[in-house]
């Protein structure tokens, strides 16, 4: 069975400062990894994903995450955050075989302070 750990439930950060949201996963087989974002009162949106190939993946709004197999991590980073990045971020994992059920972490609330 797979699992995801997001150790930080809330991360406050000042505007234009860098941020890292941590994610570690556990699985006995190879995985796909995802970060989803949920803005207040909205649905889940896929932010970025690792399926195969380059271990560094980027989103269109400046976030990036790196798949580190040896450390079983997929931390999300942004060098300079904006107020509009305030949201809850969910790390998720699915196994590459079978029907790829997605398992989510408990989420990290990013609060950007002006």
């Amino acid at each position: 069975a797979q699992s995801v750990t997001q150790l930080d439930s809330q991360v406050p950060v000042f505007e234009e400062a860098p941020v890292e949201l941590r994610c570690n996963y556990s699985s006995s087989v190879s995985v796909y990894l995802f970060w989803y974002v949920q803005y207040p009162n909205q649905g889940l949106q896929l932010l970025l994903k690792y399926l195969s190939g380059s271990t560094l993946v980027e989103s269109i709004n400046g976030f990036e995450a790196e798949f580190n197999k040896s450390q079983t991590s997929f931390h999300l980073r942004k060098p300079s955050v904006h107020i509009s990045d305030t949201a809850e971020y969910f790390c998720a994992v699915s196994e590459t075989g079978g029907y790829q059920k997605v398992t989510f972490g408990t989420g990290t609330k990013l609060q950007v302070i002006p």
Partner: protein, 114 residues
Amino acid sequence: GAGVSQSPRYKVAKRGQDVALRCDPISGHVSLFWYQQALGQGPEFLTYFQNEAQLDKSGLPSDRFFAERPEGSVSTLKIQRTQQEDSAVYLCASSPYGPNTEAFFGQGTRLTVV
């Protein structure tokens, strides 16, 4: 359609009432998932369909929860005799199945049991 569509967006039910939540997946998607997201939590897996076959219902919390996808397209999640602890956002996702694919999520149905 362009994305996964769920209806209704909001549902208020009196305790003991039965409810039915609908999911229209992306056309042609083989896989369909239901998730439950309680307030302040990450989405939790409920059940999975591959076409019309319900292959995994390990996440359904009780026998009051029932899901179907009779023609391999639209799916309905039914909750009988609703209780306050059923209050949550119910998310539906679909995917094409196969390697290097991802799940696409709907906006969810927010169920409030009063």
